[in-house]
Amino acid sequence: MAEDIGRLTRKIEEISEGREITLMHLCGTHEDTISKYNLRSLMPENVKLLSGPGCPVCIIPDTDLQKVFHLIERKDVVLATFGDMARVPFEDRSLFYYRSRGKDVRVVYSVFDAVEIAEKTDKDVVFFGIGFETTMPSIAVAIKDSPENFYVYSAHRYFIPAMEAIIKGELRIDGFICPGHVSTIVGVKAYERFLKYGIPMAIAGFEPQDVLLATYMLVKAINEGKPWIYNEYTRAVRYEGNVNAQRVMSEVFEADDGEWRGLGIIPETGVRIRKEFEDKDAERVFEDVFEDFVPKEDKRKKHCRCGEVLKGLITPKDCRLFMTACTPRNPIGPCMVSFEGTCAIWAKYGVG
């Protein structure tokens, strides 16, 4: 394998010569592979691998977090969510803080665990749902098949339309390494809408070889002037994707404007529960609670630069709080909280 990697990196060097190439990946797990195996060190100086907004925990804006806090401060519900989300702070509070104050906050591995909690209690159970197209099908299945006292606060986001905002953003990107598991659901075909921008895309798996191969495909495409969608992850990604998953998602959810940390509001990326399932929608069911909700600014985060990290404009080490005031034990921004956040990954592997 070492030999193959050497051969491949020499090729990348050869065909990229004399050109500045900026590639962006869009997945926290890809950043993990890149940092862990130190793949950036294998790239020639002129090829840059940036990290984009690929972690569903990091991109949740403070507004959603505050709304969920607002709800559990006022209602005696069981609040269930994924572990990473429970640690994200807002003004020194997180869902774990609320749990230590006696609120019923449960960390679950999957939405189906939350459904099971609802089956065993008379209390209302609210699932704080986050994630992209990978995660949304499971939430849709749960919404269709759960007891009356189970609700979802949907903070999901559609990833594919968000790519367009990145393409049109401040940075010139020459090629994208597309997320493997989002692609498992949406298929190769979902990327066809971006072909008009003339930027090559490569869907990649999560081994170091996968990421290197995708990088090679992109550099080659740029060199030959052939922008196309390459599928390196054929072992899981088909042209059509998972059609059943797409169907259940569109049955239950509809698109709306969505706010992203660092990227602002992006049309079509918000995920609302359709009217047919309004009795499952925590925002509608607890409407009265949200009536007096007013979002606030978190002063502690004044110097946090997560927004720029998410856009690939800076790396974590450009943030002056990185590993000083902001550490994995005492994270200030979400990029340091989530296991898929770029700051947390750089801290873990001592990058920078």
Partner: protein, 71 residues
């Protein structure tokens, strides 16, 4: 939270199945896949099987998981 892990189907009780995740048995939902049977390999993401994968290719992914687990 977002990785998907390959696992072998041991038993199917529609819409549930029992999978073998590196020796650990786990109940998952398989509603979104057409026709799954014991011996098939599927990618599991937060309790739901999201795609079937071929066995040979799964072995490659498994070796990655071995590495990650041994870290």
């Amino acid at each position: 939270m977002c990785l998907a892990i390959p696992a072998e189907i041991v038993e199917v009780n529609w819409p549930y199945a029992v999978v073998d995740l590196n020796g650990a048995k786990r109940k998952v939902r398989v509603d979104l896949l057409d026709d799954v049977k014991p011996g098939d390999y599927v990618l599991i993401h937060v309790g739901l099987a999201i795609q079937k994968v071929s066995k040979k290719e799964v072995e490659e992914i498994e070796s990655l998981w071995q590495k990650i687990l041994e870290d």
